[in-house]
């Protein structure tokens, strides 16, 4: 079995020397990781799920729903703009094709970029991560920073007309570190969609820098074909009037943790975070850890988390809205809902507010429970079978998140995938 290090492309590119700024960053990550260490269960940020899940291979034995041949459906209907990561290694052909088609963005792969001493990212790499570490330690991101050689550096100068898809797939069961860096320039709009499948234990870090008045649309689909534990980090720095919309869909039966840190450094930002999880298995863990820092006035943030749980699945949501004394007129909203379909599933939430400014409107809500029996009865009384009725209600429950997806093709695809997962 080949792994990331043994891959031929990796070896070739590695023969070039990394430039100083990249080496410095890598060393810093390693030194910091040494200092903070890998998290233990005692750490508050890991209260509900054991960090071990992401530190050791936790391959899920393929259930019937996870037939690998279905993976090909991705390959058959490829979107216009896409990049492939196979076994954690970028497919250079797809990147070349993308670069040919896409004139609005400057895209390069990680290993090439870090060898360029004057690369546009030389001051940005690790910046958003450093800010995120002020809220909580992010040892898995440090681990990624110390080891990674794969990823995309993407400088968006104008708005591409269609979203860019990134596909992660492959057979290796080892860990895979991938790091992306996005820079969205003023007045441009960028949409990125990530698809996770395959056997690898992914650790993906995405750092984003939004210039004033720019927009980042981000969707992440962890498909039912992802068979290992996955941890993603999404660290975004927002300047004045920028807009972020990040939507995570998790249909995997493995342990998935998404750490999101949105740093609203500018005023009048508008950020939306939505998360949807369907857990149908005891090994299914959907863990969302969100930190939204309002540092300047008049920004708006909205979080919606929906989880459907059955057969011993577990969902965790730790969300925090932080409001700096300077961030007057902040509008923060957070809602987490858990739908428990049987007695074995767990829904654990910690929705936090930390507020130091008085002229704000901040609220959070959280509910958990089973399907409303009256709704079920209504549907059944109209001749819909109990099973069908349950399905309709579950889909309706999740729809609030799905409808947030701005790309119609993708939302259609997500709906289909949810239906498949629910069976």
């Amino acid at each position: 079995m080949k792994n990331q290090e043994e891959h031929s492309i990796y070896k070739v590119s590695n023969s070039r020397k990394r430039s100083k700024w990249a080496l410095k960053y890598q060393e810093q990550c390693q030194a910091n990781l040494k200092k903070v260490g890998m998290p233990s269960r005692n750490a508050e940020y890991w209260k509900f799920t054991s960090p071990k899940l992401w530190n050791t291979t936790g391959i899920i034995s393929g259930s019937e729903k996870n037939l690998p041949e279905n993976d090909t459906q991705y390959i058959e209907n490829r979107p216009e703009f896409y990049v492939d990561f196979v076994d954690g290694i970028i497919d250079p052909v797809t990147l070349q094709n993308l670069n040919k088609k896409l004139k609005e963005c400057e895209i390069s792969n990680f290993e090439e970029s870090v060898c360029d001493q004057f690369h546009w990212a030389n001051k940005l790499l690790g910046e958003a991560e450093t800010k995120a570490r002020k809220s909580y330690e992010r040892p898995f991101a440090l681990l990624n920073g110390g080891e990674t050689s794969q990823g995309l550096f993407l400088n968006c100068k104008e708005s591409p007309r269609k979203p860019i898809h990134i596909f992660y797939s492959g057979e290796i069961e080892d860990k895979v570190n991938i790091r992306h860096l996005l820079k969205i320039n003023t007045d441009s709009e960028f949409h990125i969609i990530e698809h996770f499948s395959g056997n690898a234990r992914y650790n993906v870090v995405t750092e984003g820098f939004l210039d004033p008045n720019s927009t980042l649309n981000h969707n992440r689909l962890v498909s039912r074909f992802a068979r290992n534990s996955i941890i993603t980090h999404f660290f975004i720095n927002c300047m004045d009037s920028s807009v972020v919309k990040t939507i995570g869909i998790n249909l995997s039966n493995g342990a998935v943790r998404n750490e999101t840190f949105l740093n609203l450094e500018g005023s009048q930002c508008d950020v939306t975070l939505a998360g949807l999880g369907v857990g149908c298995n005891q090994s299914s863990i959907c863990d969302n850890a969100v930190f939204i820092a309002h540092l300047e006035n008049s920004s708006k943030s909205r979080q919606i988390i929906k989880n459907v749980l059955t057969q011993g699945a577990k969902a965790v949501f730790q969300g925090k809205i932080y409001v700096d004394p300077k961030a007057q007129k902040t509008d923060g909203y957070q809602m987490s809902n858990g739908l428990l379909l049987d007695e074995e599933s767990d829904f654990l939430v910690k929705p936090e507010l930390e507020i130091y400014a008085d002229d704000v409107i901040c609220s959070h809500g959280s509910t958990s429970g089973s399907l409303n029996s009256e709704h079920l009865f209504y549907l059944k009384s109209r001749g819909i079978s109990a099973n069908e009725a349950r399905k309709i209600l579950v889909e309706a429950f999740l729809e609030e998140v799905v409808e947030e997806i701005s790309d119609l093709e993708f939302s259609k695809f997500v709906r289909k995938e949810i239906q498949e997962t629910l069976g």
Binding site: L340, S345, V360, I361, S366
Partner: protein, 507 residues
């Protein structure tokens, strides 16, 4: 005797209101009484624990119990997770035992109590109005007992209980209401059976410290089928300097019984911080109903954050019986630092826990308070309403846990925590943990943070209400849900207290 005693019989007496008004913005209970005190040497050690036990003439089992707690405490660490910043406490620089000298012999009635002590009560006035009731006891032989609602009072002064009222009347019904040191002698079987079963000795740093050095507190036992005819009340006061108060309260409500218990606390103004680490244990058996109300008004420190009480309290109720019910109501206006999470273990099927709280933090006060509801029995219900108000440079945190066990089928929780910010230098934080582990149970949580509504304020101002009064009015409206949960006479006083606590926070 001061005049207010005689006027006290109709609602809130005008004297109290006047004295409140004349003292607006200041801490009303900041006087200290010069009483000769009997101190144990400063610091904590096994010898001190033995001395406290000896002073209370405790049996051997109690001493062993204390010593085990002390040994464990020496190996424990102070918790660092609360959102509180305070100077490190020097546990060796505290007196763990202080007793008014005149109380070498336990007084038979309040008539035996030193006049200086009684004067202290006279000055205290609201919120508990003990002074009038205490006076009522002194003159109980000739006053008509039906003249006013009765409240039986136990007073704990520094380390010891100085008097309990209406004891005989309660005894007729089989109710035991006395100081815990007395209960250890007179009802050892009950104390031994229940003490430490709700808050174990090893529970947390402060509870373990309390287990080792607690000197007194209240003990209540309501026998089967008895509905306690009057409010029971304990009044705590720290008087001596550098003294920690470590009281322990144990309330047992036997099957089908009912009791309402009030607790009030004050302390003199001191430049140094004083420590208060109490433990309250409630046991509710089948169908029992306990209502526990607190008005905590310890000295909060001055405007610059100097002095004030460090309040570290462990309060827990165990709803052991089916359909038992516990209701916690707290008005937290005092203390420099508050660390307090009155909680309910809903063990009995269909048991019910409620928590109503108003926490007001002004100037440099810090409050980290909330509740824990642990649902273990079937069909258990809990309701949490928490209102936090921050003004000045204060920090107010709600920290709560709702845990629904897989076996707690059909359980229900509702949580609402609202925060109000007055001024832009204070903070309001919400840290709830919600853990639902079965599908037939439902949890609901909602929280909001906002400032005083400008329209409401404008409306009041326009009608000639001053800004401070308007703020007090609006805040009282904000807290209404909780204030309504208090016993009647308490609620009126609490409203005043809310207004006083917010003095100087506007403008």
């Amino acid at each position: 005797m001061p005049k207010i005693y005689t006027e006290a019989k109709t609602g809130i007496d005008p004297g109290t209101i006047d004295s409140v008004n004349s003292l607006r913005g200041e801490y009303k209970y900041g006087f200290s009484t010069k009483i000769d005190m009997d101190y144990a040497p400063k610091g904590i050690s096994e010898e001190i624990v033995k001395l406290i036990s000896k002073k209370n003439l405790e049996p051997e089992w109690m001493l062993t119990w204390r010593l085990e707690a002390y040994r464990r405490w020496t190996k424990m660490f102070e918790p660092n997770w609360p959102m509180l910043k305070y100077e490190k406490i020097d546990y060796q620089d505290q007196y763990y035992y202080a007793k008014p000298k005149s109380l070498k012999e336990r007084p038979k009635s309040l008539a035996d109590v030193e006049p200086a002590l009684l004067e202290t009560y006279a000055k205290l006035g609201i919120p508990l109005k003990e002074q009038e009731f205490l006076a009522g006891v002194v003159g109980a032989e000739y006053a008509s007992p039906d003249a006013k609602p009765k409240v039986a009072v136990d007073v704990v002064f520094d380390s010891v209980s100085v008097g309990t009222t209406f004891k005989d009347e309660l005894a007729k019904l089989g109710i035991i209401f006395c100081s815990i040191s007395e209960a250890i002698h007179s009802h050892p079987e009950l104390v031994r059976k229940y003490i430490g079963t709700v808050v174990p000795r090893s529970d947390n740093y402060f509870a373990t410290l309390n287990s080792a050095v607690f000197s007194d507190g209240s003990f209540v036992y309501i026998p089967e089928g008895v509905k306690c005819p009057m409010e029971l009340s304990t009044y705590f006061r720290i008087n001596a300097e550098n003294t920690g108060q470590f009281e322990r309260t144990l309330i047992i409500a036997d099957k089908d019984s009912q009791v309402s218990y009030l607790e009030g606390c004050t302390a003199p103004m001191r430049d140094t911080n004083q420590l208060h680490a109490a433990v309250v244990e409630l046991v509710a058996l089948d169908n029992a109903d306990i209502k526990y109300s607190t008005v905590q008004n310890w000295y909060p420190g001055d405007k610059n954050g100097k002095g004030g009480i460090y309040n570290f309290v462990t309060k827990r109720a165990d709803c052991r019986g089916i359909r038992s019910k516990v209701m916690w109501t707290q008005i937290e206006t005092g203390s420099a630092v508050t660390w307090k999470y009155p909680s309910c273990i809903l063990r009995g099927d269909y048991s019910q826990g409620e928590f109503y709280s108003v926490a007001i933090a002004n100037n440099y006060q810090q409050a980290d308070t909330g509740t824990k509801m642990t649902h273990l029995g079937k069909g258990t219900r809990s309701r949490i309403v928490s209102k936090g108000i921050s003004a000045g440079k204060a920090q107010n945190t709600y920290r709560g846990l709702v845990n629904i066990h897989p076996k707690a089928l059909g359980s229900r929780n509702f949580t609402q925590c609202d925060s109000l910010l007055i001024g832009n230098r204070c903070g309001a934080h919400t840290v709830p943990y919600i853990e639902n582990k079965n599908s037939s149970s439902r949890t609901e949580h909602e929280a909001t943070t906002s400032k005083i509504d400008e329209d409401q304020l404008f409306y009041c101002l326009q009608r000639g209400i001053g800004e401070e009064d308007a703020v007090a009015l609006i805040v009282n409206g904000f807290c209404k849900e909780v204030l309504q949960a208090l016993p009647m006479e308490f609620a009126l006083e609490a409203q005043k207290l809310v207004a006083i606590s917010l003095e100087g926070s506007v403008g």
